[in-house]
Amino acid sequence: MRIVDLIQREMVIPKLSATGKPEIIRELAGFLSNGNGAIDNERLVKVLTDREALASTAIGEGVAIPHGKLPDLERIQACIGRARDGVDFDSMDGKPTHIFIVMVAPENSTGAHLKALARISRVFKDKDFLRRLLEAPNADDMFEALRDEDSKY
């Protein structure tokens, strides 16, 4: 499974503007639901928020993977957002989070979304790749970085 099969070019947000955890979830959810009529925005916000309440989805290295499931969805939808200044996302190392990959899966998804998340957690550990993502001047270059990283695996 390739990352670029999950995240299309138009699902890259080079500059998130929110600075708090609830606001950033709202911003990311808004972006994802705007691009997809099947996603109910309020519902997505709730699903992501509920998951964070269980335990933060920050996975270290300044990366977080908020995720959840929604009914009436045909396939996994994902977007990537960047906050260069970093956001306090209750990460385990206490460090701010810069890269957010949001993933939402159909309610009846069995396994596929976890496989995708596991893959993301692997790819987004590479420090050089993360630096390149952070330094990329625009969405095109961020997407380019994703595509290059995919070809390595």
């Binding site: 998951r51 269980l54 335990a55 933060s56 996975i59 385990m92 998804s109 069995t110 396994g111 596929a112 979304h113 976890l114 496989k115 998340l117 596991a118 957690s121 692997r122 550990k125």
Partner: protein
């Protein structure tokens, strides 16, 4: 091997049972007549009623032919003296003595050899270490270090969403990060060795052998939320609790300890300057509720009553604790405890038996990790340069006739760590990790000699 065990308490009985199961000749010396009789009727071994410090009793138990002598009574001094005498009057048996305050000897630079013994064992310290390991593991379930940290053994509960519950292990091999393998499955029927067409159930636990870098991926694949422990509540400030708190303090995690004995609580608060010591009854629901509401996210239950410990574990889970580790020697409770959300049962008895068994298998097998209530073991084994089994170095793994209830779960060759396929050939010096049910252990040992 001829083995004498002194003391038919929890530990002695447990170790003796495992040794008998594995086909060793065992004699047990027990001072209390009732206990001795009881053991005689339940275990196929020689039981000698008498004192482990009496040379006559040792002779009766067959000290002259003993290869290994294990003293595990409740009393440290008895164990030490008994093992010393055994060493003197026997034909050079290996001697093992259990001491509760192991660090006292170690900090006084007193090694087993200084007392003429082969090994001193004390479970308290290793239990505290194990608990620390569990607390730093962010997934649900258990973690253990294998082959000096080159690999880990994860025992993961699964959510219904986990791909492990929907695809066969063969299909999943492309999903799993390298190197990794499901080496065992713990289900209703106990431990089983998986096959390629196995699909796991959401009520089962997967025993996964993998390298430490892959832990996060498996936590995600399990489908259970991960959690980073920030504050630990310890119920019971006994010797394990004290060691655990000290260990946590050194990692800048400052725990809260609930201790019911006033003197002990005062002693703890003097010794543990950075922990919070509360005087109170840690089995009191109201107190636990207050503590959990305040800030604890992990709870470690360290009370001596095996049953009550599990019950308190269930209660704190119910009260919202994210991670729960319980000290209990009643490993029979593990399936139900796991089902109700307790992450790990840590058994001092098992820790001690692990240590002793590793010693019994000395030679090519360096370490044994017990699975469940001795439902199986992960053995670490070094391939000899000139094996007695001449096929070992020249035959592909698939033709080596490994017993059905076993599998080679990993090979460490110098810098390389890999999961062998059927065509793999072993080299001298390779470390093999073998998962085996008890029925297969003797055959595996023979094969790898």
């Amino acid at each position: 091997m001829y083995v004498i065990v002194v003391g038919a308490g929890e530990v002695g009985r447990y170790v003796a049972t495992i040794l008998v199961d594995e086909g060793h000749d065992v004699a047990v010396i027990e001072e209390k007549e009732g206990v001795a009789r009881d053991l005689e009727s339940s275990l196929d071994c020689l039981v000698v009623h008498g004192s482990g410090v009496n040379p006559d009793t040792l002779h009766q138990a067959g000290i002259g032919k003993a290869d290994l002598f294990i003293a595990v009574t409740q009393v440290d001094e008895v164990n030490l003296v008994s093992a010393m005498i055994a060493g003197r009057i026997g034909q050079k048996p290996m001697t093992v003595a259990r001491v509760r305050e192991l660090e006292h000897y170690q900090s006084g630079n007193m090694q087993a050899e200084d007392m003429g013994l082969s090994l001193l064992v004390g479970p308290e310290y290793s239990v505290a270490k194990q608990v620390v390991g569990q607390l730093s593991f962010e997934g649900a379930g258990e973690i253990r270090s294998l082959a000096e940290g080159r690999l880990v053994l994860l025992e993961l509960p699964l959510s219904v969403d986990s791909p492990l519950c929907h695809e066969t292990l063969a299909e999943l091999s492309s999903t799993f990060p390298d190197p990794s393998l499901v080496g065992g499955i713990i289900g209703k029927e106990g431990l089983r060795i998986p096959r390629g067409d196995d699909v796991l159930g959401a009520d089962e636990r997967a025993e996964i052998i993998t390298s430490p870098e892959n832990i996060d991926e498996f936590i995600i694949l399990s489908g259970k939320p991960w959690h980073h422990v920030r504050h630990v509540l310890i119920i019971g400030g006994g010797s394990i609790g004290y060691r655990l708190a000290r260990e946590l303090e050194s990692q800048r995690l400052y725990p809260t300890i609930i201790e019911h004995n006033r003197h002990r609580a005062e002693w703890l608060s003097r010794k543990l300057t950075k922990s919070i010591v509360l005087l109170g009854d840690g089995t009191e629901p109201q107190l636990l509720k207050e503590q959990l509401e305040e800030r604890s996210d992990a709870v470690v239950v360290l009370i001596d009553d095996d049953e009550k410990a599990v019950l308190i574990g269930l209660m704190v889970k119910h009260l919202g604790a994210k991670k729960v580790v319980v000290r209990s020697d009643k490993l029979e409770y593990a399936p139900i405890a796991h089902k109700m959300g307790i992450d790990a049962l840590i058994s001092p008895r098992r820790a001690l038996a692990n240590h002793i068994l590793a010693f019994v298998r000395r030679g090519r097998i360096s370490t044994a990790h017990m699975l469940g209530d001795h439902e199986g073991e992960v053995l670490e084994f070094e391939v000899p340069a000139a094996p007695k089994n001449s096929k070992l170095l020249s035959t592909p793994l698939k033709d080596l006739d490994f017993p059905r209830d076993s599998l080679v779960g990993g090979v460490i060759r110098g810098e390389r760590v890999f999961i062998p396929d059927g065509e793999a050939l072993f080299n001298p010096g390779d470390t093999l990790l073998v998962v085996a049910l008890p029925s297969a252990i003797v055959a595996v040992e023979k094969l790898l000699r």
